[in-house]
């Protein structure tokens, strides 16, 4: 009953907590990683604990909220909501800490698959196709709107689900919609980016004629082979700079 009352009282702080979640990586560092940002996002949900224990409960919860944490930034709300709910329910501090620690891995892995390796390249690939087909700025605007519709919805869902489930937050991660989205995002991304690559190659090589087209095909194929072969040692930016340096040298030798 006490927990339900607390839950009802904390509800108005969801908006503030969500807004702060958009800055969750603002103080990213090698000590606590996202910890400080997590504490900042959780703090509004803890404010009605200030009256309990002469503020000691609140201060203890704020301190725990800022401890080490690292997961996908869009899913941090799940841990914020769950930890805040657990603090309201008077769960022992060591259990709250264990919950936060246990969530790092699954939230990181899920977010990486769903967003970094799924939704983001998928929407970006669609935008690349749009630009290559001549949609111009509309494709860019479409990317921003579409990507962020999913992004904001995910952040909001995560915070609400965390608060709803508290210590049993693992239930939220087994949601059928989330499972299906994770399963579909990989193939969808692969198909869309695969389709974007030839279109973009055509778009960027429009100004090339004669020998330069052959040279472009050679550089792209050779560059890919070198990157694949030396993938543990060579980054794209280094390959790009090396090729540009070679091109400058060749341009001086063969004016």
């Amino acid at each position: 009953m006490a927990a339900m009352t607390a839950a009802r009282r904390a509800r108005p702080a969801f908006g503030r907590s969500l807004l702060r979640l958009f800055t969750v990586q603002g103080s990213w560092n090698y000590e606590r990683m996202q910890g400080v940002g997590m504490g900042v996002a959780e703090e509004p949900l803890l404010r009605d604990l200030r009256v309990a224990g002469d503020g000691a409960v609140y201060r203890g919860a704020v301190a725990r909220g800022a401890h080490f944490f690292n997961a996908h930034p869009y899913l941090c709300g799940l841990a914020v909501g769950a930890a805040a709910r657990a603090e309201h329910e008077g769960v022992p501090p060591e259990q709250v800490e264990r919950l936060r620690t246990a969530l790092c891995g699954p939230l990181g892995s899920l977010g990486d698959r769903l967003v970094w390796a799924g939704w983001l390249p998928f929407t970006s690939g669609l935008a690349l196709i749009g630009v290559a087909l001549g949609l111009g700025l509309s494709a860019v605007l479409g990317f921003l709107v579409l990507f962020n519709a999913g992004h904001v919805a995910l952040r909001w869902w995560a915070l609400r689900a965390g608060w709803t489930h508290g210590m049993r937050v693992a239930v939220a991660l087994r949601q059928p919609l989330l499972q299906r989205a994770t399963a579909v995002s990989g193939p969808a991304m692969a198909f869309v980016v695969g389709a974007a690559l030839p279109l973009v190659a055509h778009y960027l090589s429009n100004g090339f004629v004669g020998w330069s087209r052959v040279a472009l095909a050679g550089v792209a194929a050779g560059g890919f082979a070198v990157l694949w072969w030396l993938r543990a040692r060579l980054s794209g930016v280094r390959l790009g700079l090396a090729l540009l340096a070679l091109a400058t040298l060749a341009g001086w030798l063969w004016p």
Binding site: N29, V140, P187, A250
Partner: protein, 225 residues
């Protein structure tokens, strides 16, 4: 380029740099967004789109997981567009890529430096944080965001400075063939990095078939056009 326009590009690059990690992570930092807007500010959306697409391919290699270090292509694309616009014509892509890749590397190094500074600040505030002082927590977080804003501004300024140097000392000295070679290197590298980066995401599992089907569909679309 007028001072007002330069300051506008600096402000845009700073916002773009801040979006990458700190706030609001809405993918304004993607080259595909940063480039065309910079192009629109310069009255040259086409150059902005071309360099946006080029650096978006480089971005496919980046997977911002945990403490991974990676180049920062947002402010770099803004600088690249500024040099490519001034260079005009076909010279733009190669010269823009050169300035952009150097700025991107500098951006990556600066991110690492800011994270170390943040760690130092957290260490200094440990006692207050462990005491649950919410004011210290908020101040620490706000200062870290401001630190990142200053970092993004410096990286953009460096990129715009490099752009100015490239315009002044390189643009007039490269032969036509040299220009084409630079463009070939820039576009070829971008296509290689984009393909390799995507294949790393796709892996060797069943998604590889979807990727192959996508490539065939894209190639068919090019042929039909």
């Amino acid at each position: 380029m007028s001072l007002g326009l330069l300051l506008g590009l600096l402000a845009w690059g700073t916002f773009v740099g801040l979006d990458l990690v700190s706030v609001p992570q809405m993918m304004i930092a993607r080259p595909l967004v940063a480039g065309p807007i910079a192009g629109a500010m310069l009255g040259d959306v086409w150059t902005g789109l071309s360099l946006g697409v080029l650096f978006e391919l480089f971005q496919y290699e980046v997977l911002p997981v945990g403490a991974a270090r990676y180049p920062e292509y947002g402010p770099a694309t803004v600088a690249a567009v500024s040099v490519a616009h001034a260079a005009a014509g076909t010279l733009g892509l190669g010269l823009g890529a050169l300035v952009g890749l150097i700025s991107g590397m500098a951006g990556g190094v600066s991110l690492h430096a800011v994270r170390r500074l943040n760690a130092r600040a957290v260490r200094r505030a440990t006692a207050a944080l462990e005491a649950g002082d919410a004011r210290v927590l908020l101040r620490l977080h706000t200062k870290a965001i401001l630190r990142d804003a200053v970092r993004a501004a410096l990286v953009t300024a460096l990129g715009l400075g490099l752009a100015l140097l490239a315009r002044t000392y390189l643009a007039g000295t490269i032969s036509v063939r040299g220009v084409i070679l630079l463009d070939v290197a820039a576009v070829g590298a971008a296509l290689a990095v984009g393909t390799a980066g995507t294949l790393r995401l796709v892996g060797r599992g069943p998604d590889l078939r979807w990727f192959a089907a996508g490539v065939v569909s894209g190639a068919a679309a090019v042929w039909l056009r």
